[in-house]
Amino acid sequence: MWNRILRRFFFIIPQLLAFSLLVFALAQWMPGDPLTGLIIPGMDQSGVDAILDNPWYIRYLQWIANMLRGDFGLSYTYRMPVGVLVGARLGNTLLLAMASLLLSYLIAVPLGIYAGRFNGSLGDKVIRFLNSISFALPIFMVALLLVWLFGFQLELFPTRGMPLLPETQSVFASLWNRLHHLALPALAFALSASAGNIQRLRSGIIEAKQEDYVLTARSKGVPESMVYRRHIFRNASMPVTSLLGYDITGFIGSSIFIEYIFSYPGIGRLFISSLESRDFSVIVALLLFYGLAALIGTLVSDIILTIVDPRVRVR
């Protein structure tokens, strides 16, 4: 098992390399020098030459070396190190990611289990219907509906941002405040992301229900609830579990919309505003970061799978 995990771990090195090369190539295509952010309009030509004269592999290596030192170049819009810029917002996005993923599982797991266990029931039909709706509604529509309904009609939740909190607030109050602001964006993600998991869980359970080992378990006299818990759920949750890491990738894509609509001060919004202002050094850094996150996501998936599924473990 460790062998496999270790091997899987080493496998991301070439992937990372390939990805960084791709980003590098993209960066060459972008105007200016997004790798350093040093070339800005109006810069005198000698400086430009000094940077662009090196052959590409030297620049690539320099770029990698800089990044390893924590230097991601300079933002063109903010004229500040990209690392600092991203750092200030990373926390917010991570917070949102955790809340969103947690919430989406909180929604998906019970509904998926219910629909799978009582498939064909009225509840299942309702869940499936809602699921189709959630598949068909683009995430931004979900978010806009939530904003309007919970934010402005019911005035239950704040509709935007994650405020910087004055220290006059107590720990509890500031925690509450944070959760309060996270609620809608996280819900928007959860509502649209849980559909896939609900469906997978549901069909996983329906499939597992018909497996022979379930018959074996029943023939052993295992009570029905335990049959579900020990046999069906564990097997049915395998695809969902193994996609856990992919949900991180999914979150990355969705977070752009969510942060955009909720003006959430995270890196997704930074990404969009950098795209608008063509702040390519930020874009390059964020792309790399997202790529790394996605890689780690799949890595996590594989590791989790290796841990939970003995069949994969030996392979």
């Binding site: 006299g221 097997n235 069949r311």
Partner: protein, 337 residues
């Protein structure tokens, strides 16, 4: 055979599946009994309802789309009337079941010991240590190679033979008086099959359990069974002691089956010619004739009148029952009187 009530008694059992709003009997008017210390073989071709019969006894059918009637009497209880909770006390504890495909019948995510332990968990008050002890005892009993190691493995890490042994260990964990084995050797090699059959008869000898062995292989029946029930299209067409069945089969279906079998043993000369073939095909569940002898269509040269209107089981000698009266006038084609 035994005195008093048999271990398990099945009377007029019907199991019907719902298909497009209609119920079709997959098991149709099946009655038999199982004694202690007896191996009862149920033979029949694919789709004749053997597995359905087994799963009905163990109560594994979803009430929503099956209809079960008749009696399954065990210890004066009609199992059909039991609720899930009570049934769960019986399953595993009083009836153990072995399945055909040992790989898919084991949960791929649980170790062998966990799966065996699970039976003990719900039927005994053993402590954790006692259960662990019992598990290793069982693994030794069913002669799994390297029992210690096997306990900690997952099903896919075992050979097919070892898996089936584990399956048997699960079935016998609580020393149930009844064991139902549904084609336990079909997916195994002959040499392994022999070992597993030996194991089953050993279990019977050790615990005195009654075993219902489901198979489609007459050879297996001849090797191990005490009594045989032959099934055709959901019905039992003949029951007899094993020797009697092989030496004096009565029902045309039984006779045809025996005749169509190529034999490995015996003389070389006998098999130079063609094998006997039963005409026609087994009708599917939905196409079964509602009335009359189900085998009639496959022996068309026999006058229709020789079949019973609604065929019953007739005891033609002690313990030898045959359905329908057509056997009396049945001859193979070209066979002289």
């Amino acid at each position: 055979m035994g005195l008093g009530r048999p271990l398990l008694e099945i009377n007029a059992l019907h199991t019907a599946f719902r298909m497009q709003d209609n119920y079709y009997d997959a098991v149709d008017d099946v009655s038999f009994s199982l004694e202690k210390n007896e191996i009862l073989a149920i033979v029949g071709e694919s789709g004749c309802g053997k597995s359905t019969l087994a799963t009905t006894i163990v109560g594994l059918h979803n009430k929503a789309n099956t209809r079960i009637s008749g009696e399954i009497i065990y210890q004066n209880l009609n199992l059909i009337d039991l609720n899930e909770t009570l049934y769960n006390r019986i399953r595993g504890n009083d009836i153990g079941m072995v399945f055909q495909d040992p790989l898919s019948a084991l949960n791929p995510l649980m170790t062998v010991s966990e799966q065996i332990e699970e039976v003990l968990l719900y039927h005994t008050r053993m402590t954790k240590e006692e259960r662990a002890l019992r598990v290793s005892e069982l693994l030794v009993q069913v002669r799994v190679e390297d029992p210690e190691g096997a306990a900690a493995r997952y099903p896919h890490e075992l050979s097919g033979e070892a898996r089936q042994r584990v399956g048997i260990a699960i079935a016998v964990a609580c020393n149930p008086p009844i064991i139902i084995a549904d084609e336990p050797t079909t997916s195994l090699d002959v040499t392994v099959q022999a070992q597993i059959l030996d194991l089953l008869s050993e279990v019977r000898d050790d615990t005195g359990a009654g075993i219902i062995l489901i198979t489609h292989d007459l050879g297996v029946v001849a090797e191990i069974a005490d009594r045989v029930a032959v099934m055709y299209a959901g019905q039992i067409v003949e029951t007899a002691g094993v020797v009697e069945l092989f030496t004096d089969p009565k029902h045309p279906y039984t006779r045809s089956l025996l005749r169509s079998m190529p034999q490995a043993n015996g003389t070389l000369e006998s098999d130079s010619g063609e094998l006997y073939v039963i005409q026609g095909d087994v009708p599917s569940l939905q196409q079964l004739p509602k009335q009359g002898c189900r085998f009639a269509g496959r022996i068309p040269w026999i006058p229709f009148s020789t079949h019973e209107q609604s065929p019953k089981m007739h005891e033609i000698s002690k313990g030898h029952f045959v359905r329908c009266t057509c056997h009396e006038s049945f001859r193979f084609e070209g066979e002289s009187e």
